[in-house]
Symmetry: C2
Subunit: 368 residues, 2 copies
Amino acid sequence: MQRIPGSVTIDDVARHVGVAKGTVSRVLNNYTDISDATRKRILQAVKELGYQPSATARNLKRGRQDTLGIVIPVGHGSGADPFLAEFIDGIARALDELGLDLLVTTAHSREHMIETLHRLVARRKVDGFIITRTEVNDPRIAFLSEKEFPFVAHGRTSDPSGYAWFDIDNEAAFADGVRHLYSLGHERIGFIGGSLELNFALQRLHGYRQGLEALGVRHDPDLESLQDVSEKGGFAGAEALLSLDKPPTALLCVTDALAIGVVQFCRKYGLKIGSDVTVIGYDGLPVGEYLDPPLTTFSQSAQDAGGRVARKLIDVLDGTDPKSLQALAKAVLIRRASDGAPSMTPDELSKLFRDRLNHQPHSDTKGE
Amino acid sequence: MQRIPGSVTIDDVARHVGVAKGTVSRVLNNYTDISDATRKRILQAVKELGYQPSATARNLKRGRQDTLGIVIPVGHGSGADPFLAEFIDGIARALDELGLDLLVTTAHSREHMIETLHRLVARRKVDGFIITRTEVNDPRIAFLSEKEFPFVAHGRTSDPSGYAWFDIDNEAAFADGVRHLYSLGHERIGFIGGSLELNFALQRLHGYRQGLEALGVRHDPDLESLQDVSEKGGFAGAEALLSLDKPPTALLCVTDALAIGVVQFCRKYGLKIGSDVTVIGYDGLPVGEYLDPPLTTFSQSAQDAGGRVARKLIDVLDGTDPKSLQALAKAVLIRRASDGAPSMTPDELSKLFRDRLNHQPHSDTKGE
DNA sequence: AAGAGTTACAAAACCGATTTCGGAAGTCAA
DNA sequence: TTGACTTCCGAAATCGGTTTTGTAACTCTT
């Protein structure tokens, strides 16, 4: 009863032309056993009536939804993750070209995420999933694998062998980062990371250590601070590391958000970024460009990643073996202005910082 | 044939219990004419088999999709709009509570957007639409209104009488902004706006002018610069206005993106923000907090707006008269640190700026 | 104890497409 | 002519639910 008004069905078209609805369907789906004359009349009627087949009815019969799903984690009111925003943008663009749509849902906890996944799979609202921010042991991937439900991951898990994924070579990037900082003259290089359940955080930590080892330096656990992957976390991480007796002169952060927090911290205490303290982020977010100084960061084009991942998932749905759809890309270091040669030794930095701590902190905190 | 493996249907449940499938359906939909014994047996079987009804089949019969749609405009590779990201986040959170999902698609041009809208409506993939960034004469609203397809707008059009919307009182906000700047001591106040086809840009311009009028100042077209609503636009706008013979000492920008561009510009020429030049943005983006200095801005909580708009659309779908679902909210000025009393007169500012222009510009531009 | 109501469910129709099946009409070879 | 093939399309089954309709078996009335 409450039908959408003006919605024309295949029966309307069939009646209008005087054929069976099956015939209309065959014309629209390019079957060959239709005479040219009839085809033309039907096409004409379709155009006249503005008929478009109901996605629902078609899906019911076909068993496909032409829709992909993504579940994004949300914190408590913290605001959208800019990386994910770019990523989703990239997915949607890619899907648009293929006539598919993207279903976006949120989850506020790990349980909620699995629950949502479960619902969407069981109710068959989507044909496949895109998983982001993979964890070392990811319950989502376990769930979807077990259900044999198509999906693709952005990032790997501890065992990346059985599914399609796209990832960045995080180890290589961070090893490079260490080498880069070392060549700038930094001897003590700090690391601000995130929960080691997040695979990218773990990989970047490994890369950081590998980079040090390659230089013959033993990694110092004191220089590794694990925090919430957010601006607040970066702030806290900077505080922790710069308070050390022998603080690092350079900080390698696993995300731009963390790096932004570090910048905040340094600004608050009047430490000059790019000389007193060097900061490097990761994500290549556009925001970084507008920071003062513009943030040096590893870029992986979230948008591009979204597009790639979407296309991989389409391939999976088309029957390609997921195992053959695994790809590793390199991150590129975008040097802006937050890195440079150290202006002083760790000891001097420590002294400077303590000085600043005792004075009224630099008044650049927020007004009202 | 290519059915999702392990997908259990209502028939499976019915057979398992030994009842008709209609009976199962009635149990699941809380009909009363079922004996307790049968109800229990069916519920038991449902749990045992892990049955969840197919959304598609249900939708086909019900004529509803439990899905809302949003079409977001995307530029050419420019990156995601942070405001929209927050907005969508807010929508998705609200919908999650109600068991609805959000379909996100992109459109790269106005025509493409209408086309996408058309497709989604005709194929009935969504029950209603959320329209953002309304234009003074919005073809999307015209289209949906004519089709009598449910929708809600974030922002109004020139004739806002016939549909549901949520908007901010842009005029009031900008009039307030002018008053605020004037009270800080600014005599020449500039305006950096966007295309006047965007209703919010038009309204904010009106508000700006009203604010001036209320102070008995006649608005000066030279002080109004219309740009692309982006960082680049802000940069260009700042350049245009600060190059005037009598430049404004304060710039009111219609979005934070523009304000960020202004900050960039001032940084490049070594103009101190909050004293030499005052900048105020609009959107209350979290990013603004991390700028140096933190951006003073009108906040309207994109996330909150998303939630409100979503709930309004639900109400429309539930039969509430859209005309009764119109709401105007106030923007709040968040004072951070980019506004302050002018440190000099327009003439002095002009001289200072010309000086800086002739020297090598301050070297804070990006390194490679 | 007969007619009137309930109760509790089975059976069937329906939503709007796609796809299978089968048959009428036309074509061709024998 | 007649049987065998095509060509073209109508009829019906199907996807997996929801909703309507119908009815057997009880329970009340009076």
